[in-house]
């Protein structure tokens, strides 16, 4: 029995997404930026699961699994990039990523 309106979940997901966007916009540590991206992906997942529940289709949950997998791959590659930047610069700031310029 779902007593809560769907808008409760959508509002929560929106809030989390917006917090993630804020982190990407104002933070200078690329690791925190990555965490904010994770937060945004999670808010998307919450929305998928909520819609899956309220519409009665399980597909949303399956998509959420795929999103989690993609997030794991993205984090692995992103952290590897950060580590290799760190090995060159001895510190990490988002501005240091400009060494990836071609």
């Amino acid at each position: 029995m779902t007593v809560l309106p769907l808008s409760a979940y959508t509002t929560l997901a929106t809030l989390l997404f917006v917090i993630g966007v804020t982190g990407v916009l104002i933070k200078r540590n690329p690791l925190i930026i990555f965490m904010s991206i994770e937060l945004m992906l999670n808010s998307g997942n919450l929305l998928l699961v909520a819609f899956s529940r309220y519409l009665g289709y399980i597909d949303g949950q399956i998509y959420a699994f795929f999103v989690i997998t993609v997030a794991a791959a993205e984090v692995a590659v992103g952290l590897a990039i950060i580590v290799s930047v760190f090995k060159r610069r001895r510190r990490v700031d988002v501005d240091d990523i400009n060494i990836m310029r071609w």
Binding site: L4, L16, V18, L31, L46, V49, S52, V70
Partner: protein, 222 residues
């Protein structure tokens, strides 16, 4: 009833508060731990949305694997407090970000509020009249929705998508069956993606034998 509202309120509040604290924390390790709190709260919400398998995967993969990876990198490469380089913060960056983010929030809320579930019922296949059954007062309550507890593991059976789901109430079974029937190609492509990610990581962090271990930055060398 009131219990599930209460649980939702607590979980949502803690999730949002921890997310805000993640941004407010000075120490990145604390940020990571606050993010773990948010993820655990989201897992609780998945339980409320009768997705127990996803809740477990959320805790295992996000809190267990991804955040541990973050913490490893943080603890190997960052000294607390030393990584803040306040040079070249754009002028008015925070203010502009705040304004834009508030605009974005109301934009998304507006976009989602113009959407109602009933507007979907016309687009769902005829057999999937579950939505109409949910809404219609005279319709018999659809199976899977009668659970009184907010934590019931039963999920709405997929309407007519897979045969023989009528009696099944176990979510992991349903998820697995659906994943390996309708989404098999995506599943296999995901394994390719993971393989590509593994290879990419190995190539990226490989120690180059030609370079000395402590590589001096080109700019500093000049």
């Amino acid at each position: 009833m009131i219990v599930s509202i209460l649980i939702f309120a607590v979980l949502a509040t803690v999730a949002v508060a921890a997310a805000v604290m993640m941004l407010a924390a000075r120490n990145p390790v604390r940020s990571a731990l606050f993010l773990v709190v948010t993820f655990v709260c989201l897992a609780g919400l998945y339980l409320m949305l009768s997705a127990p398998l996803l809740a477990m995967v959320q805790i295992l993969v996000y809190a267990g694997a991804i955040m541990v990876l973050f913490l490893f990198v943080l603890m190997f490469f960052f000294e607390p407090g030393a990584e803040v380089h306040p040079r070249s913060v754009l002028k008015g960056q925070h203010a502009a970000a705040g304004v834009l983010v508030i605009v974005l929030f109301f934009l998304i809320v507006f976009a989602l509020s113009s959407f109602s579930i009933t507007s979907f019922s016309g687009r769902l296949p005829a057999q999937g009249g579950r939505v109409a059954a949910m809404r219609g007062p005279g319709a018999p309550p659809p199976q899977g929705f009668q659970g009184g507890s907010p934590f019931d593991v039963r999920v709405n059976p997929v309407p007519n998508r897979t045969q023989g789901v009528a009696g099944e109430q176990i979510n992991p079974l349903l998820v697995g069956r659906e994943m390996f029937n309708s989404h098999l190609l995506a599943f296999e492509l995901t394994s390719l993606l993971l393989l590509a990610a593994i290879i990419g990581v190995v190539v990226l962090v490989r120690l180059d034998k030609a370079e000395p271990k402590t590589f001096i930055d080109e700019e500093e060398a000049e």
